[in-house]
Structures are given as structure tokens and as C-alpha cells.
């Protein structure tokens, strides 16, 4: 499987946040040489049913950097084996395999970025676009004595969405949480942001 002279990459690890999964390793450094890498993966199906089969990563077969975005490869909520080897011309190193299989349900979920604005009497929110796997739970309320919270689920970010028609006299506050149903998990809520309608604001 390729010459042993070329050292295999070491210290494989995956950093995953908001469903973006980055496989990283220590680069193989050879003076005056450009070393490339090739990444392959195996889902639980392959390891159970066709264990000899490894699938070339979509973006990293080959790649020059010592890291690979495997988000488009990890498409099911099952453990994935990942491996990488070095390539120099016709030489290839041995494969280095990630010590523990990676499951996307371990990704770190951060509170979503959001922009709360007033559009005439209308309370409008625009959430960070985190990709198709994300939905958002938006909670909003009128800040006064008997605070009653309202909630809405938004299917995607990146576009302004109308939440509520506001009445003058008290601020309206909003907070949001990211939800990934594919892995059955949510982020923490963001900090609340408030806006207020003055007396005679222009309607939309």
C-alpha cells in the first residue's frame, strides 16, 4: 500500500461546531517538498456490511492542507471511521485512522447570531444562516408586568421574518435557540435583544 519511507500523518482529531465537521492532523513536513493528503471515510453501514470499502472524501482526495471539511461526507447520525494518508509524487504513506469513530451528534451547538429590528410597527428578526439542517425556536415577549412569552419556529435563517405587530409603550424582547432535529439537540438561547415603538411610528 505505498512506500513506508513517507511518514503517515499523526494526531488525527475532529473539531465539530454547528454541524461543520473538521478533520485535522499534524502535517508531514519534508524540506522543499509539497506533501498532499488523501482522506477517506466509512459509515457504520460500511463497517458492518462492507468493511473493506472506504469512500474518498468529497473535498479532500487529494488536499494540500492538514485539515479536511468532512461535513458533506458525514450525512447520517451514525459513527463514522475516518482515515488519512500522505502523498508525495508516486509515494503514499500508511493510513492513519481516527482513534475513535466520529458521530455528528457530538457537534457543539452555539446560540445563533440574530438581528432584531423595528419596521414601522412590525417586530422583525433575521437569524444567522447556519445551513439546511437548522431550525430556530424564537421566543419573544412584551417587557412589562405580566410578561407572556410567545414562540415561533423558523425553518431557516438568512431572511427577515415578521414576528409581531407591536403596540407603542413598552419594549419587545426576543431570544433565539438553534435546533438540529437530525441529531435531536438544541443550542442554548441567545442573549435577549429588545426594541421599542415610539408614540407615532410610521406603519410598514
Amino acid at each position: 500500500d505505498g512506500g513506508e519511507a513517507l511518514p503517515a500523518p499523526q494526531n488525527l482529531s475532529v473539531h465539530s461546531a454547528n454541524m461543520k465537521h473538521l478533520l485535522m492532523w499534524s502535517p508531514v513536513v519534508l524540506p522543499r517538498e509539497t506533501v498532499y493528503y488523501s482522506v477517506e471515510y466509512q459509515g457504520e453501514y460500511e463497517s458492518l456490511y462492507t468493511s473493506h470499502i472506504w469512500i474518498p472524501s468529497k473535498w479532500c482526495s487529494p488536499i494540500e492542507d492538514a485539515e479536511c471539511d468532512v461535513s458533506d461526507d458525514i450525512t447520517a447520525t451514525v459513527p463514522y471511521n475516518l482515515r488519512v494518508r500522505a502523498i508525495l509524487g508516486s509515494q503514499t504513506s500508511a493510513w492513519s485512522i481516527l482513534e475513535q469513530p466520529f458521530n455528528r451528534n457530538s457537534t457543539i451547538l452555539t446560540p445563533p447570531g440574530m438581528e432584531v429590528s423595528r419596521n414601522g410597527f412590525h417586530l422583525v428578526i433575521e437569524l444567522e444562516d447556519l445551513g439546511p439542517q437548522f431550525e430556530f425556536l424564537v421566543v419573544y415577549w412584551r417587557r412589562e408586568l405580566d410578561t407572556k412569552e410567545h414562540a415561533k419556529v423558523l425553518r431557516r435563517g438568512g431572511i427577515p421574518v415578521h414576528l409581531e405587530t407591536m403596540e407603542p409603550g413598552a419594549p419587545y424582547c426576543v431570544k433565539a435557540q438553534a435546533q438540529v432535529k437530525a441529531i435531536g439537540r438544541n443550542s442554548a438561547f441567545s442573549q435577549a435583544e429588545c426594541v421599542e415603538v415610539q408614540g407615532e411610528a410610521l406603519p410598514l
Binding site: 419596521n119 414601522g120 410597527f121 412590525h122 422583525v124 425553518r155 431572511i159 427577515p160 421574518v161 415578521h162 405587530t165 410610521l202 406603519p203 410598514l204
Partner: protein, 199 residues
């Protein structure tokens, strides 16, 4: 569900009189079937809506060219699945207004039918998860926003009096992408606010 087969004429036969013959096939059945209305035709399309009206089945179609004493090989389509691939037309839009709001009533498009006497089937009966993407344009402020709605009525409130708003709507079914077909833009002006006339 109006399913029309289209093709391009052969490249190297400009100026030659060419006719075409079409056949279709129901996946899983045994024989290619003729379409009499599309035998020896000179146009380059053939309406197979009747033959493919059962949208649970999957179909193939093929066409060959005939000129002078020659005829070409058959050219065949891929497997066509009307339920997944048909384009969904825009809904009908009815707008009513007062000084500060516009009411929008949407009516889902109807399934194609060959005979006007046949009973009408709404596309909503076929696609229970049919949704609408409603885009609203404030012509004066040049602002636009959109809303995704499931039911067929929508009230836009707290609008500007005496202002022209335009509405455009697209039907869609969550799932594989289908070519979108937005409605015509329909515009309506909010009425004058009687209280503002008194100031």
C-alpha cells in the same frame, strides 16, 4: 400533471420534410404503446397527459424521425415519475383591502384534466403538504418581504394607507426541487385613512 414530451429535430436534416412517431411505456408492464395522435406528425412535441394521468405509475416515452425512405433509431426518455416531477402551478390570488391591511385568499391550482366535464381535483388533494411562498412588495418604499404559508388565507396588517402593494405567490411541495412557477404580480392599493383627512 399536464405532461408534454418535447424534442429537437435531427441536426443534419434542415430543409428535409421530417415526421415523427411517438410511443410510451408504463414501467413494469410488457409493451410499448402507440399514441395515434402522435404518429407521423411534423410538430416536435406530443401531449401524453392522458396516458400518464395515473401519477403513481412511472413512464418512458420514445420518438423516432422518418424522412423520405429512412427512419432514425428511437430516442428514449429516462423514467418519468409524475408524482415527483410534475411542476406545480401558482395558486389563484384574491386580494381585498382597507386602509391598513390587505387580505389574501389563495386557491390551489387544479390537476390537469382531459375532459372539462370530468370532476376537478385540486393539487392540494394530491399534495397534502402543499405550501405557498408569498412575496409582498411595497411599491412606494421599495421594500419586500416574504412569508411561507400553509393555509389559504393571509392578512397583512399595519400597512401604509393609500399605498400600492404588489403580491406574487409560488406553490411548492417540500422535497426534491421542482422548477418554480410564480404567479403574475397582483397589485392593490390600501385605502385613504379617513382620520388623516381631518388633520
Amino acid at each position: 400533471m399536464k405532461n408534454v414530451l418535447h424534442w429537437n429535430p435531427p441536426e443534419n436534416l434542415q430543409g428535409v420534410e421530417v415526421t415523427y412517431t411517438v410511443q410510451y411505456f408504463i414501467y413494469g408492464q410488457k409493451r410499448w404503446l402507440n399514441k395515434p395522435e402522435c404518429k407521423n406528425i411534423s410538430r416536435t412535441y406530443c401531449d401524453l397527459s392522458d396516458e400518464t394521468s395515473d401519477y403513481e405509475h412511472q413512464y418512458y416515452a420514445k420518438v423516432k424521425a422518418i424522412w423520405e425512405t429512412n427512419c432514425s433509431k428511437w430516442t428514449e426518455t429516462g423514467r418519468f415519475y409524475p408524482f415527483l416531477e410534475t411542476q406545480i402551478g401558482p395558486p389563484e390570488i384574491a386580494l381585498t383591502t382597507d386602509e391598513k391591511s390587505i387580505s389574501i385568499v389563495l386557491t390551489a391550482p387544479d390537476k390537469w384534466k382531459s375532459n372539462p366535464e370530468d370532476c376537478t381535483i385540486s393539487m392540494r388533494q394530491i399534495y397534502s403538504n402543499l405550501k405557498y411562498n408569498v412575496s409582498i412588495y411595497n411599491i412606494k418604499s421599495k421594500r419586500m418581504w416574504s412569508q411561507c404559508v400553509t393555509n389559504h388565507t393571509l392578512v397583512l396588517s399595519w400597512l401604509e394607507p393609500k399605498t400600492l402593494y404588489c403580491v406574487q405567490v409560488e406553490s411548492f411541495v417540500p422535497g426534491p426541487l421542482r422548477p418554480a412557477q410564480p404567479s403574475q404580480k397582483q397589485c392593490i392599493s390600501t385605502l385613504e385613512d379617513p382620520t388623516s383627512a381631518l388633520k
